[in-house]
């Protein structure tokens, strides 16, 4: 036993900067070398460092739903399935039954083995694929009955490199199953490259600082993070709130949709936050089921969205959070062959949203409203054959929906709760250059905000058409019926919708979960959901309301009816009328839409 080296707050800060720097270097490498649009344009990937005990240590700026929980389970699976880990190994992992988010998130794990052959850390790079070999050309198989109907190859931590050489059998299997093999190969190399960069840097750091000292650092860094979390929770009000959020009806769901129930309990005396997700339906015969990683990460990201953002997110702060799950539950541990094809978005958001809205109900200044639901056709997977060549990729043509928070309006380009706005939005010109599509319109929709003291972001309208061929647009658009709810008196955001715009200009409503063939003379119309509001709209700063009206985000009528702000045609404020209206409405019981 070595005597535990007690580090002061400056050494910890220094080593933390080094660790985060390594995770960031991995991410920078992946972003700049990836081949597909989904990685290099949309930035749909994450890079993390874990300890040898599979504890999450550093995440750089990853997608929250990708990394809070799951990487730990994946690393454990790697170690359990491969008793001897050697330098030069790399493992491909996309199994939702073993810690991965969903099968489209191909992850590369590289164990960091020191010069004495001891496993010290694991680096993990996870990247959403443009195609993962599903039965249909989409990575979100909302209607898949089970994993067999999904069709993707599942890799539960399968060795893909040995002595730094590719296991070509696995590579060839992927190339035989994935629709765009060259693109996959490019993305695989980028993901592997990122993990190898992380490995190289960790080896250098271990040699410089000493492995025992690094281990000592990780323990103390977790302790520091836990102390920060304890301080935060102790300052929160004690309480227990149950909130529900309903996912729209989809194939194989009950007719009324899927209602998710989250019970959040803050226990300041124990410095603990508990979330009970066990009171939810069993696994369904569709692709909406959550993987264990998503079932754990979704409530956790909602908690971290709701508190002091400077608390580090790692195994240490996680000790103060308990998420209760059950086996075989739609928000729990799925049983093989349950499909988790769309686990990162739809139901996951219906878990994160009520948790953060419940925390808001506990006290003003905490939590957030609900974020707009995903995945409308504007961020669907577009595929087809153009000039004899197949193409498939996810587009990001306007997905918004940020939730009102205690101090700010919703972040416009949040995409969805689990993504936190980290992904980029496409350039129209780049999309038109890369794909045979023509984008007629992309604009924000006035009055689609969830009104509030701090309002939700507006929804987005987009309209696009194929050029010289037909296209298939695959999407799974929740929020057609159930909008993003407000909290603390804030109102709900606008609903999503999707239509086929026919040649004559008429609009044909389309189902929310579908793969739609859009013919050369037709257009796809996509409406994304707005975000919910935080606090009563009557409390919204009048200047903000005036600015919203001036900018065209909110109509004059809505300013008056919902926000209680009376403006003349020239947008001058009628003080007296506004005061009267606001006083009058404030005395009415606040309805929670």
């Amino acid at each position: 036993m070595t005597i535990r080296d007690v580090m002061d707050g400056s050494t910890l800060a220094l080593l933390n900067a080094r660790m985060e720097g390594i995770a960031r270097k991995m991410a920078n490498t992946l972003h700049r070398t990836g081949r597909s649009g989904i990685l290099t344009i949309a930035r749909d990937f994450s890079c993390v460092i874990l300890t040898a005990k599979h504890e999450l240590l550093a995440t750089a700026e990853s997608l929250p739903i990708h990394v809070l929980r799951g990487p730990d389970i994946m690393a454990r699976t790697m170690a359990e399935n491969h008793k001897v880990l050697r330098r030069g190994d790399a493992y491909l992992h996309n199994s939702p039954y073993h810690g991965c988010t969903h099968p489209a998130d191909h992850s590369i794990l590289v164990p960091v083995i020191d010069d004495d052959g001891i496993h010290r850390f694991t680096v993990l790079a996870k990247a959403h694929q443009a195609d993962c070999g599903n039965a249909l050309p989409t990575t979100y198989m909302g209607a898949a009955k089970d994993v067999y109907a999904e069709g993707a190859l599942i890799f539960p931590a399968v060795k893909i490199q040995h002595d730094n050489e590719h296991v070509m059998d696995i590579i060839r299997m992927c190339q035989m199953r994935i629709r765009v093999p060259e693109q996959w190969w490019g993305d695989y190399l980028a993901t592997l490259g990122a993990a190898r960069v992380g490995e190289r840097e960790m080896l250098a750091l271990g040699r410089e600082v000493g492995w025992d000292r690094l281990e000592s650092y990780t323990g103390q860094w977790f302790d520091y993070s836990e102390r920060r979390m304890i301080d935060v929770i102790r300052a929160m009000p004690k309480g227990r709130v149950t909130r529900k959020s309903t996912h729209d009806p989809f194939p194989a769901t009950p007719d009324e949709g899927v209602t998710i129930t989250a019970t959040v309990e803050v226990k300041p005396d124990e410095a603990l936050i508990e979330v009970d997700m066990t009171d939810n339906p069993d696994n369904m015969e569709n692709g909406l089921n959550l993987s264990e990683a998503c079932a754990l990460s979704a409530p956790m990201l909602a908690i971290f969205n709701s508190i002091d953002h400077t608390v580090p997110k790692n195994e240490g702060s996680f000790r103060r959070i308990r998420i209760h799950l059950r086996d075989g539950c739609i928000v729990g541990r799925p049983r093989h062959p349950t499909s988790c094809s769309a686990a990162t978005t739809n139901i996951a958001d219906r878990v994160a949203n009520p948790v953060q809205a419940a925390l808001a109900e506990l006290a003003d200044g905490l939590g957030q409203a609900e974020t707009g639901a995903l995945l409308p056709p504007s961020c669907g997977v577009v595929s087809g054959v153009h000039h004899g060549k197949p193409f498939v990729n996810e587009v990001y043509l306007g997905c918004t929906g940020g939730a009102g928070s205690p101090t700010q309006d919703g972040w416009l380009t949040i995409l969805h709760a689990g993504n936190a706005g980290m992904c980029y939005q496409d350039s129209i010109e780049v999309d038109e250059l890369r794909h045979p599509i023509f984008v007629h319109q992309r604009r924000l929709i006035p009055d689609s905000d969830g009104a509030g003291r701090f309002r939700g972001a507006l929804g987005a309208y987009s309209e696009f058409a194929p050029v010289g061929c037909d296209i298939i647009v695959a999407y799974i658009s929740d929020g057609n019926i159930n909008p993003a709810q407000g909290t603390r008196g804030g109102l709900a955001g606008g609903c999503s919708a999707q239509y086929r715009k026919k040649r004559d200009g008429s609009l044909e409503p389309l189902p929310p979960c579908a793969e739609i063939l859009i013919k050369a003379d037709e257009r796809m119309v996509s409406i994304s959901a707005g975000g919910g509001g935080y606090g009563s709209p009557q409390e919204r700063d009048v200047e903000r309301v005036i600015r919203d009206v001036r900018e065209g985000w909110v109509s004059r009528a809505r300013a008056r009816e919902v926000y209680g702000v009376v403006l003349s045609e020239a947008l001058e404020l009628d003080h007296a009328a506004t005061q009267q209206l606001r006083l009058g409405q404030a005395s009415l019981p606040k309805s929670r839409l």
Partner: protein, 691 residues
């Protein structure tokens, strides 16, 4: 040859560097006067005239050239004093400036507002028109409606107009026509067309460049005219040039026509100076750090070339707007002498990004600052002589610094004040190192193969520590390090950058199309060298092409050795250069794969100076200063010899531990490192054995 002046207006100081008739240099610093920056320029010139014992008008009459770096453009944006600007966009796409390109930093931080569009939506107008990807007209421009809209904008008192239509880079006919209509309806109102200011794809980047440019035209036009007039009134008759974001200089009146190029005027010169002073071979790679009071700017010279980026942000990444223009790649972080150190509730030390700024500044300045900063830590460690700060012009309060450090850092961390000061320097150094690694990994540079060039007033405090942490080959502190940008401005080239978009693939290469584009660019360069560059000593064109693998999304900038593709071998050479550059930057390449080209760049550089860096006036003061006690990183307090930078003879070697001080900076030479003065006056520091 007359006097040459380089004036760089910074946040706190206006630095003036004068190159005399014999080519020797002198540095002068005046306070920046934010309300009237030209006053700071004239003040600095007056200081130099006084030192030359001449009336200002006589002194200025000797001047042939004045190069100006200005923060006026970025300040106008930050303070919201740009013109009331309208944005004309393609119908159906009104929210290009609102949606931007997405992206966010700090995923769990919801306390930061989403940025307002650069041009408010109320002044954004959709124009009925649409060009397709192939340049064909999908919807013809509705001129009647456009005229109606322009009349409306006129009535609303618009002061400038930006026009950016989809695919105008492939077919500019609609933008051109709208430009004509603006001149007809709103004569005299400045406007910018996107295909002219930034002919590249990605509508947001082009639109933002366009709108920034238009919005700056009135204010920068007035500023340039005012500068010119007041210099003339003061007696200057020479040429007035301005530093651009691309690291070149332009005539002030031309710069006023395209002011978006002035956003990074100043910082872009640091790598130009570093290249001239510290690069011995053409292929050297330099990491350039410029440490000021509040920010640390990192830039690069990569194998003799200064890398460009199109992602220069006006504020924080993703929380502001980018300029979209190709500019010298400078990354800026909130770390400098003024960065505040504190311990959080969990017991963790933080240094920055909060800064004490110029006011109140560090505790030791005695201007009311109460929170300890990096400068206070440096003072406690003995890195700074409290009696000889800024050449003795200011005395520092050591006692105040010690008390603040004890209260805010040492006591909470249960350590001595000296150990706390060391911890602060170490952490500040690590933040700078991380900023350097972010930019080097993007450019595929291995810091251990690079030389670290330190500039700025606080450069010497930790340049050895940074160099050691990055395992750089060596560290160079130039003689005029405290005014690095100004020293670059004196030797920079008159330059203009022209670009055109032309999309083709290497496996179906449209040679005639490309050659036509290159010829057009070449003609524009020639025309520039015949007008602005008429009296230049020589001129050359740097060619480059932004290209990518077919499925990739982002282009990389590949230098071109030729200005015309004569045969298939030239195409192969471009492919080869692309693979090599890709391998260099990303450590991977796909040699069999075809590439596609997107943007073609020509930069004309006209040499207007010898290009040889000058030397400071010889200093007759003695070499040795009184020794003092200094605590180096990882050492105890050591009695340390102190030398005057200016008095060190060429070739003389100084072994660490030592302190080397000039009137503007102190350089810490840690134990084990050795410093040598080279023939350009640089201090070249060998880092010794790094563990």
């Amino acid at each position: 040859m007359g006097l040459r002046f380089a004036v760089d207006t910074g946040g706190t100081f206006t630095d003036l560097m004068v190159s005399s008739d014999e080519g020797t240099l002198s540095i002068h610093k005046a306070s920046t006067t934010p309300k009237d920056p030209v006053k700071g320029v004239i003040d600095a010139l007056a200081l130099a005239a006084k030192e030359a014992h001449q009336p200002l008008s006589d002194y200025l009459a000797r001047g042939e050239l004045l190069v100006h770096g200005t923060t006026h453009a970025i300040n106008a944006i930050v303070t919201g004093s740009t013109a009331r600007t309208a944005f004309l966009t393609t119908a159906g796409h009104p929210d290009t400036l609102v949606i931007r390109e997405g992206g966010r930093m700090e995923p769990f931080n919801f306390t930061v507002a989403y940025p307002e569009p650069y041009v408010p939506r109320e002044l954004t107008v959709e124009i009925p028109e649409r060009i397709a990807v192939d340049g064909s007209i999908k919807t013809a421009l509705d001129e009647t409606e456009t005229l109606r809209i322009l009349e409306l904008l006129k009535a609303r008192g618009v002061e400038a107009i930006g026009v950016c239509f989809l695919w105008s880079v492939v077919n500019p006919v609609h933008e051109q026509r709208v430009g004509e209509l603006i001149e007809k309806i709103l004569p005299g109102i400045p406007y910018t067309l996107s295909h002219k200011i930034n002919p590249s794809i990605r509508e947001y980047r082009r639109a933002i460049s366009t709108c920034i440019d238009a919005s700056l035209k009135p204010i920068m036009g007035a500023y340039m005219r005012g500068l010119d007039q007041r210099l003339r009134d003061a007696g200057f008759t020479g040429r007035v040039l301005v530093i651009t974001s691309q690291g070149g200089v332009m005539d002030a009146k031309d710069a006023a026509e395209a002011p978006v190029n002035l956003i990074n005027s100043g910082p872009s010169m640091a790598p130009v100076a570093a290249k001239a002073y510290a690069s011995h071979g053409r292929e050297d790679t330099l990491i350039v750090g410029d440490t000021g009071g509040t920010t640390f700017d990192v830039s690069l010279v990569r194998k003799g070339r200064i890398p460009r980026t199109r992602e220069t942000w006006l504020g924080q990444p993703f929380r502001s707007h980018m300029t979209g223009m190709p500019s010298v790649d400078v990354k800026s972080i909130g770390a400098g002498g003024g960065s505040i150190a504190y311990v959080d509730k969990g017991g963790l030390l933080h240094v920055g990004p909060i800064s004490a700024g110029a006011m109140p500044g560090p505790v030791c300045y005695g201007r009311g600052g109460t929170r300890p900063t990096v400068t206070d830590a440096a003072l406690v460690l003995g890195f700074i002589d409290p009696e000889f700060f800024l050449g003795g012009k200011m005395t520092l309060d050591r006692k105040g610094a010690v008390e603040a450090l004890k209260r805010e850092v040492a006591d909470p961390l249960h350590m001595s004040v000296e150990a706390a000061a060391e911890a602060i320097m170490t952490l500040a150094t690590e933040h700078m190192v991380q900023a350097i690694m972010d930019i080097t990994v993007h450019q595929g540079i291995d810091p251990s193969e690079a030389i670290f060039v330190a500039g700025g007033g606080a450069a010497g405090l930790n340049c050895v520590a940074i160099g050691r942490r990055l395992r750089c080959r060596s560290v160079v502190v130039t003689e005029a390090a405290a005014a690095l940008a100004a020293s670059g401005a004196l030797i920079s080239d008159l330059s203009a950058h022209y670009q055109a978009m032309f999309h083709t693939r290497s496996d179906a290469f449209d040679r005639d199309g490309i050659n036509h584009v290159l010829q057009t660019l070449s003609d524009r360069c020639t025309s520039f060298s015949k007008s602005a560059g008429a009296h230049a000593l020589s001129s050359e064109i740097d060619w480059s092409c932004e290209a990518r693998y077919i499925e990739q999304a982002w282009e990389i900038d590949v230098p071109l050795a030729i200005s015309r593709f004569s045969d298939e071998a030239d195409v192969k050479a471009l492919e080869h250069a692309f693979h090599a550059m890709h391998q260099d930057k990303f450590a991977v390449s796909d040699p069999g794969a075809p590439i596609e080209t997107v943007t073609w760049n020509a930069e004309i550089r006209c040499r207007i100076s010898s290009g040889e860096p000058g030397r400071l006036r010889p200093d007759k003061r003695g070499l040795s200063l009184p020794s003092r006690s200094v605590r180096f990183l990882g050492s105890d307090f050591l009695d340390t010899p102190v030398y005057r930078f200016e008095a060190i003879a060429e070739g003389a070697v100084i072994d660490g531990p030592a302190m080397i001080e000039s009137d503007f900076t102190s350089v810490v030479i840690d134990p084990g490192a050795t410093a040598q003065r080279d023939k350009l006056g640089n201090l070249v520091i060998d880092l010794g054995d790094v563990e």
